[in-house]
Amino acid sequence: MSHNYVVTAQKPTAVNHCVTGNFTSSSDLNLIMAKNNRLEVFIVSPEGLQPVKEIGIYGLIAVMKLFRPCDEEKDLLFIVTQHYNAMILECVGRGESLEVVTKVHGNVADRIGKPAETGIIGIIDPEARCIALRLYDGILKIIPLEKESSELKAYNIRLEELTVQDIEFLYGCPNPTVILIHQDVHGRHVKTHEISLKEKEFIRSPWKQENVEPEAAMIVPIPGPLYGALIVGQESITYHNGSTYITVAPPIIKQSTMTCYGRVDPTGGRYLMGDMAGRLFMVLLEREERDGAERDIKVELLGECSIPECINYLDNGVVFVGSRLGDSQLVQLRVTPDESSSYLTVLDAHTNLAPILDMVVVDLERQGQGQLVTCSGAFKDGSLRVIRNGIGIHELASIDLAGIKAMWSLRVGTSGDDDGDELFDNTLVIAFVGETRVLSLIGEEVEETEISGLAGDQQTFFCSNVDHGQILQVTTTSARLLSDKSGALRSEWRPPGGRTISVVTANAGQLACAVGSELFYLEIADGEVVLKSTATLEHEVACIDLTPAGGRTRAHLVAVALWTDISARTLSLPELRPLSKECLGGEIIPRSILLAEFEGVPYCLVAMGDGSLFYFHVHLETGMLTEKKKVTLGTQPTVLRAFRPHSTSSVFACSDRPAVIYSSNYKLVFSNVNLREVGHMCTLNTRAYRNSLALATETTITIGVVDDIQKLHIRSVKLFESPRRIAYQEPTETFGVLSMRLDVQEANGLAALRPSASTGAKSVSQSSAAQLHRPSLQQLEQGQEVEVHSLLIIDQHTFEVQHAHSFVPSEYALSLISTRFDNDPAVYFVVGTAYVNPEESEPKQGRIVVFQFHDQKLTQIAEKEIKGACYSLAAFNGKLLASINSTVRLFEWTMEHELRLECSHFNNIVALYLKTKGDFVLVGDLMRSITALQYKAMEGNFDEMARDFNAKYMTAVEILDDDTYLGAENSHNLFVCQKDSAATTDEERMQMQEMGRYHVGDMVNVFRHGSLVMQGVTENMAPTSGCVLFGTVQGSVGLVTQLEPDFYAFIAELQQQLTRVIKPVGKIEHAAWRAYRSERKTEPCEGFIDGDLIESFLDLNRDQMAEVVRDLMITDASGQRRPATVDDIIKAVEELTRIH
C-alpha cells in the first residue's frame, strides 16, 4: 500500500471555453470561463470584470454553453465533461447565498462507439428545443429539452457523415436543424439535417454544399434576419443560406487558420474571429442586399492579441480573449488605430502558465525556498514563468543609508500636502544609534531636512502624527509633542527620576512606555501628554503595543511581553490592570509584540529573538489570549509592523527572511517576501509613492509597493517563441533553454517571422549545415513555415538571453541537461537532438552535443552522432545517460572530451523519459509504462530489475524512493508502482505492483523533486515526507507527497466524510472523478488522497465543518483516541496547506 497525497498548488490557468450571458440573474451580464475542471463566474461591471464565484466540477469540461429556455428569464449553463457527464446548472440567489442548482444531470456515454477524433462537440438549438452531442463517430445524440417529464430521454441518430469537423444548429428553422462540415475521400462538404423530435430521426436535408474549401473547419450560424451560416476555411469565408452563397478569400487570412469566433451584434452582422497566429479580425456581413449588388463579406484585421481559444464580446467595445497558449486578455476595441495600426488596447491580462512543457526547481535567492521556472506557452506567447511562493515587492526607488534602526513617515508643514480629502506623507524620520535624521520627500526628490522641535541628537524610539495637529517623538529620555505645522516643540514629558525609556508605543491619542519593569500610560491632549496611570510588572518589559482594535480610535488594552519569565500579557486601559498572562516558554527574548485584526478577528503576535513567532486570539473584553500557535519565520530577531495593502490588514515581519502575515479564510498565512533582509519597515503614502512601504536594509532604504497578495507569485519572461526544455546551471548562474521558433522560407532563404529570444540574443551562433552528415533536407517551398530550434543561455538574474545557438532547420532539439563528468571540473550543457524527416516513421539520426558556457561565450566541446532521436538525457554516475529511440544508452566522457558508448539497454518501444537515483534508472516508455534498470558498474551493463507490464502511454516519470516509482500517463492518471525486492521468484520480482492509482484530471508533462515553501516554517509540520512537484498541460502545478500510514488513514477518513457533506455540482461522485480511467479500464482510486478536497474543508462554514467532523476520531498527543473537534481538523488541514 502506498500513501500519497496529491494537491494542486496552482490551479489550471488555461482558458478552454468561455461564454457570456445572464447566468447569475436576468440583469447581470456574466462571463464564465472554464479552466480545465473549474468554472470562474464574473459579472461585467463599470470597474471591469468582478469575480463572483469559482465552481469546481468533478470532470474536465469538454462542452460549456449558456442557453435560454423559452419561458426562462435568465440563462442556464449546459456542461458536458470529458467523461460524458452532462448537466444543466441554474444559478439561484445572490452574494453569499448564491447557489448553483443542478437542474438536470446524467451520463450520456454509450457503451459502444468510437470516440470522435475531432473531440466532443455539444450544441444547443437556438430555440432551446433540444441539445445535440457528437461524442462518437457516426452518431448524433439528441437530448430533447422537455419541461414536464422527470426524465430527459436522450437518443442516438445515425449520422451518415463519419468525420464531422464542426456542427451547429441553424437559426430560424421550424424543426431543429443542424449544419455540419464533414470530410470524405473527395474533400470536405457542408450538409444540413432537419431533426424530427417526434420521430427521433433526421427527416430531411434541407440543403447541402459539396466540395467546400478543403480546410474548412468552422461553422458560424447566423441569426435572423439573415439566417444561414458562415463556413470558415483556411483561405476563404463562405456565407450560405441554402439558396444563395457568397465566398470571399481575402489574402490577409491565408497566413494562418481561424480557430474561434465571437458574435458582436445580436443580429449577427459582425463577428470577431481569431487565428492561430494570435490575430484578431472583424468579419462583417453586409446586411442589405442592394439592388443588383451582391451581399458582401468584409474581413478587417484588428490587431494582435494572445493566441485565442475563445473570443467573447462583452460590452462597450470590450472583448475577452481566452487563451490556452498565452495570457488571457481583456481587450478594448479602439475606434482609431494606434501607431502600430492596431485597433486593440489590452486592458488586463490573466496570467496563464499553460502549457507547462518543462520546469526546474531552483533557489536563486538562497533563502532556503525553492522557486519554479517553467517553460510555458507556445509560439509567439511562449515564455518562462518564475513561480515563487510569497509576495513580491515592486521597487520604486531606493536611498543609500546605512545603520538604520527604525523609520516612521510623517506629515509635516503648514500647507501639509493634501489632495482633496487624502492626506499625504512628506517626511521620513529615521533613527540611528544616538541620532535621528529627517528626510523630506517632495515628488520623487529626497533631501535631508530638519524639524526644529525634533530631538536630533538622540535615537528616536517612536514618531508619528497624533491628535490635535501634533507630532509625537519619543526618545530614550522623553516624549516630545511638536506642532505639525511649524515643527516647534510644544511640550515634553520625562519619566520620573530622569530614567531612560526602554520601550514605547503609541497611537493617535494614547501612549504607553516602559522604564525597566515600570509601565506608564499617558494620553495625548492638545499641547501636552497627560500621565493617566502607572504599574509595576514582575520583570522588565521587552516590547509593547496598543494598536486599537479595528474600527476604534482608542485602545482598550495594551499588550506587553516581558524579559525573564518570557511571557505575553495584556493589561486594561486606562487602569493598567493585568488581564491575562501567557508564558511563551524557552529563553529567547520577545522582540516585538503587535495587536492586529485580520478579517475581523483580533490577534496578538509576538516575535522572538530567534525568528520564531507566537500568535494568539485576543478576547477584546477580557484580554484573554487563547489558541497559542507558533511558526518559525527567520533566524534573526524579528520586528512586526502593521500595514494595509489593498485594504486588507497585513503585518510585515522584518527579519533575515522577511514575511508578510495576512489572513485568508480566517487562517493566518505567512508569505515570504522577495527581499533578502529587512531590518525595519514603515508605511509611506506620499504623492509620488502612494500606498507604499519604506523598507530598511543594512545599507539602503527601498521604497516599493506590495504586489497583490497571493500565495504563488508569478513573473513572466517573454520569449516570443516556444520554450521546450529548461536546465539550471548554478556555477555559471544561467538557465539553458531549448526553444523553437517558426521561420518562413523566402526567396533568399529562411527569415524569422518576428523578433524573438533567439534572434535578439547578445551573441548568436549556429550549427553549420555543411559539417554534418545529415539526411538531405527536402526542398522547401516558398512561404512554408519551418521549425528552428535553439539553445538559449539565459542569465539567472536579468533573464536576458546571453547567447542563442540555432540548430539547422531539420534538427529538433529534444532534451537538455546541465552536468559535470568524471575527471573533468567543467560544467556543460548537453543537448540531445533528432533530424526530422517527414517521410520517416521515426527519426533515424540525431546528435548529442556538449556545450560549455564560459566567459559569456558558448562553445561546442563535443558532438556524438546517434542513430535516432535523443528524447531524454540524465547525468548518471559521472557519465551521460541518453534514451535514443527504443534504447537507453550510457556514454563515458573520455579524457579527449569525447562521448564513448559504454553500454545499452534495448527492451522498449520508444524510451521517452529517464530518471536516475544512485545506480537505478527509471525508463518511461511511449506505451509500455515504466521499467526500472540497475547499472552494474563492474560488468558494465544494465540489469532490468522490474517492469510494469500494463500498457500505459507515459507522459512523465519520477523515482520516489529506491523501490517506488511515480508515473503519469496520457489519460490524465497518476500511478505508483513498487518493485517487490523480497519476492521469492524471479518472475514476481520482475513484475512491478501497482500500489496507487489516481485520476488527476490533467496531463502531467513534468515531475521534479522539490518544494515551493521554506523548509521548516512551521513547528508542527504535517507528517509528510518527500515532495514531487508536477506541471501540466492546463497550466496547473501540483505536488505529490507521502503521508505516514496512520495520518493517511486519518486523512482518508476525513476525505470520506467530506464526500458525504459536499454535494458535487453536476452530481458526479467524487469516487468516480478520481477513479483511474483509461481507454481500457476504470479502477477505483487507491493509495492517493485528493488534497484539493481535503483543503476545501477550510472553505466550509463552521456548521458544515461540524457535520464533517461528526464521526471522526483522532489520536491525541497522549495516544488516546477521542472524537475529533472542528479545531483539531482545521489545524491538521491548515498544516497540510502549508506544504505548498
Binding site: 463599470p46 447557489e99 438536470v104 441518430i157 458582436v264 464580446y313 460590452d315 475606434v335 485597433y343 490573466h350
Partner: protein, 123 residues
C-alpha cells in the same frame, strides 16, 4: 438597437466625440452596448484587478434533487430506425388504403408479437 447604441453607447465612440463618428471605420461603428456604465471606471492601475482577485470558492453542501435526469434510450439505433421505417410505411399504406387504421395497427402489433415469440424459441 445597434444604431442607437452608437450614440449613447460604446465608450470609444463617445470619447472621440460624435462628430468624428464618420471617421470610425464601419466595422467598428456602433458596437453594441447593454449598459454604457460597463467598463467606464476601468483603470488598469487602480487597485487589485479582476485578474488578481480571487473569487470565493463555491462549496455546495445542500442537496438539490435534480428536476430531471438524462437517460439514454437503450433501443438499438438500427432497430429503432427499422421500426421507424416500418411504421412510416404502414402509415403510408394506411393512407393509401381506405380501410380503417385500427385494423392495420392491430395487424402490426400481432405480427410483432409473433416475431418475438419466434425469437424466444430460437436456441
Amino acid at each position: 438597437m445597434t444604431g442607437k447604441s452608437s450614440e449613447e453607447g460604446s465608450s470609444p465612440a463617445r470619447s472621440s466625440g460624435s462628430n468624428t463618428n464618420q471617421n470610425v471605420p464601419d466595422f467598428l461603428r456602433g458596437l453594441p452596448c447593454r449598459d454604457s456604465k460597463n467598463f467606464s471606471k476601468f483603470s488598469a492601475d487602480s487597485g487589485p484587478k479582476a485578474s488578481g482577485k480571487k473569487a470565493p470558492i463555491y462549496m455546495p453542501t445542500t442537496d438539490h434533487p435534480s428536476a430531471q435526469v438524462i437517460v439514454t434510450e437503450k433501443t438499438n439505433i438500427l432497430l429503432r430506425y427499422l421500426h421507424w421505417r416500418w411504421e412510416k410505411k404502414l402509415q403510408d399504406q394506411s393512407k393509401k388504403r381506405s380501410a380503417g387504421s385500427a385494423d392495420v395497427d392491430e395487424g402490426a402489433s400481432a405480427r410483432k408479437r409473433a416475431r418475438s415469440d419466434r425469437a424466444d424459441t430460437s436456441p
